[in-house]
Subunit: 140 residues, 2 copies
DNA sequence: ATTGCTGCAAACTCTTTGCAAGTTC
DNA sequence: GAACTTGCAAAGAGTTTGCAGCAAT
């Protein structure tokens, strides 16, 4: 994700372009693997040592509110963040706290079809994600 | 859930039967709707005023470790607990933090069939849950 | 110039821990 | 009586808040 795209993303959402915000966005996109708050803070401290932690929390909140990023959480895990992109699901390791994206267009189709026929009473569906729990057979 | 079943559940899991544990189990089953820690604590304080908060946390941890209850979490929400029962999915309100169970045997079949044919590389599936996000059209 | 953002440090909330005293089997 | 469980209070982690000063448009 290059600088121009990051700047466009901020502008499009009515946010001022600041070094702190570009750093946070870049961090999340660079790390990819659902970084938690601590990892984001560490990453940014490496590149911009004098960004305040409180500021990072505020920026993450802002991004979530604008829909620029998503929060992902499981069980005893900390908060993690996810660059918003295409519809994808999550694989959760039941032994470690590893999370991976899982893309499956065929599955999306099946689920979309299913819910276009069958409605849930008194509920208006906006988004469906699968949480697939299990074990990774190989390490990262 | 009556007292005998609660006692059996504890014994079966090698746990000693104490008033605190039966109170926590009863609380979760009575409240049903995915109570969070605070609600559980309040409930128990009402019935057994001198149970320590630390004890409740320890009991919840123990129950989760034994698989007697599950943890459920979303986004900025606190930890919530769920009596382990049949396979069910969750409806999450995108506006409030309401969570409801969603049972759909037909859907379970479709997903089970799908993954019995298609494997996820290097991943051994144990459990699949849908997180269905949207809006409730009526209040509770 | 105006509005919005950041840094800082203090405060908060939720959760965990250690250990002595008390319970359960 | 042995092993386990609880209460308590203190500490810890992660997150939020308020506000003065600074930066972006």
């Amino acid at each position: 994700m290059d600088g121009q795209i990051i700047r466009d993303t901020l502008t499009k959402n009515g946010l001022k372009i600041t070094p702190q915000r570009t750093a946070v966005l870049k961090a999340i996109h660079t790390m990819g693997n659902h970084p938690d708050t601590e990892q984001i803070i560490e990453f940014i401290k490496g590149h911009h040592p004098n960004v305040a932690i409180g500021t990072i929390y505020k920026i993450l909140d802002t991004f979530v509110a604008k829909g620029i990023i998503n929060m992902v959480k499981t069980d005893r895990d900390k908060m993690r963040y996810d660059a918003v992109s295409d519809l994808h699901h999550h694989l959760y390791c039941s032994e470690t706290s590893r999370i991976e994206d899982y893309y499956d267009e065929e599955l999306n189709q099946i689920i979309t079809n299913y819910f276009s026929e069958k409605e849930i009473p008194d509920f208006d569906i906006e988004d469906i994600k699968l949480q697939i729990k299990g074990k990774f057979l190989k390490n990262e």
